[in-house]
Subunit: 272 residues, 2 copies
């Protein structure tokens, strides 16, 4: 046991809390670690709480009682998120992003850790009260986004594969119809990858008609899971029949003029 | 401008530094943000530095002069890493992980954000001095690992695809021979995904003969990139001819007895 001064304790507790979001930490853990009275630890926590809230880092929830402690819940404020998304939308609207089929090139954005962390924190904030147990996505481009979200929720990621060549023991496969291309495709998940009756948040980078997300929802029924939410980064507006009802999007792609290379994109449903 | 007390500054600077690894932050940024003298900021930083070092969070490097500032370099100490890996190896050695072909089921481990963060920090520590500009991996299972590493290095991730159906504009594809199965396979990367002459760190979850990593190295030549390092989580020992010379592994799989479901695994080359 080492005896630490308040200043050193504050630094250390801050980094510990940030590294353990959505985790109930008993005050005794800190008081034993630092050889400090619980009352001092409580004072430290109220300093951290105030700083986190004023900087938009998140909230500290205190749970009283013998089984109590403190929990860091990552939260972004709506204003910060809007200005972040406005910048992102500006980037997304660049003409060189137009891809065949009306898709957008987004791999650079989906590869950038600071951007991903912000989007992940946004999704984690939006679904903070849903008791998410697992974040699910389908390979490939949604994976970094799912991981970023899961890091802030402190839950595991499960990745659905787009083939059935998965060599991971017993596998559940379903066929689904890609809503936009109308082709029949397969997605698979190893039986052991997801405990039955999990509470699952679906995350993906792009949604047109929603066939892929619909496929994931159907696949989840095989695992008797509950879909507690669905977050997509970009949705397209020109969809005659959406295959998914409940989801949030961060951006909405209204029009892609492939010939003129003009992109019309705005804030998504999360901000309405 | 808000005037903050030392205690609040410490919390805020700690979270800011943790969110911006490998980034030179001018002291003026903090002194202006908090309305504090540079001398006070310097004192704050020495408190944070000491706490980070004693807790194994990382080091703070101070760069003097007009263009100077402070930089947080994530670092794990060898002892912590060894005990973390020892626990991981225990998990990996469980008989139910044996898969056909002598592979191991690792998706649960590769889906867990705390575990991934620790492995990512380990790789980021190992290659901290290599001026890494991009982390590269090939889909699918290595992606979370690459992202975790990139987050600590604060550089983008580039994902090589296993097919050539990539609709991302001009694409570079190569054929490579999977070292263990001897099958010819294809991997592709969009031309615009990687600037020429980048310094690239390759990260993957599993290496047998090294055909996949060799393929990535060959692909990188097309981009005139420099491979500054290669980190794999698990390598297998029973390889007659390794196709890659320089790499670090965190664990070495010596033997998988498929019939008896016995796994013999130990610390990898990084710890030798």
């Amino acid at each position: 046991m080492k005896k630490l001064r308040r200043s050193a304790r504050l630094v250390d507790m801050t980094q510990y809390l940030l590294a353990h979001p959505h985790t109930l930490i008993p005050l005794t853990l800190f008081s034993e670690e630092y050889g400090s009275a619980k009352s001092s630890i409580s004072e430290d926590l109220s300093i951290i709480k105030e700083a986190f809230e004023s900087q938009g880092v998140g909230v500290l929830k205190t749970v009283a009682g013998a089984a109590g402690g403190v929990k860091y819940i990552p939260q972004v404020n709506q204003e910060h998120s809007k200005s972040f998304m406005a910048t992102l939308i500006e980037q997304l609207a660049k003409p060189e992003r137009v891809l065949p089929g009306g898709y957008l090139y987004m791999s650079d954005i989906l590869g950038h850790p600071t951007t991903l962390a912000q989007i992940g924190k946004l999704f984690a904030s939006a679904f903070a009260d849903q008791d998410v147990e697992v974040v699910m996505t389908v390979e490939t481009k949604g994976i970094p986004l799912a991981y970023a979200t899961a890091a802030y929720l402190n839950v595991p990621v499960v990745i659905v594969r787009r083939d059935n060549k998965v060599t991971e023991g017993s596998v559940v496969s379903i066929n689904y119809v890609s809503g936009s291309s109308k082709r029949i495709q397969t997605m698979s998940l190893a039986r052991r990858a997801l405990p039955e009756q999990s509470r699952v948040l679906i995350v993906d980078d792009f949604m047109k008609a929603g066939g892929t997300v619909r496929g994931m929802i159907d696949l989840l029924q095989e695992f008797r899971a509950t879909v507690v939410g669905c977050g997509v980064m970009v949705e397209t507006a020109d969809v005659s029949e959406r295959l998914v009802d409940e989801y949030i999007s961060l951006a909405k792609l209204n029009e892609v003029d492939i010939k003129e290379k003009h992109i019309q994109i705005e804030l998504g449903s999360y901000f309405q």
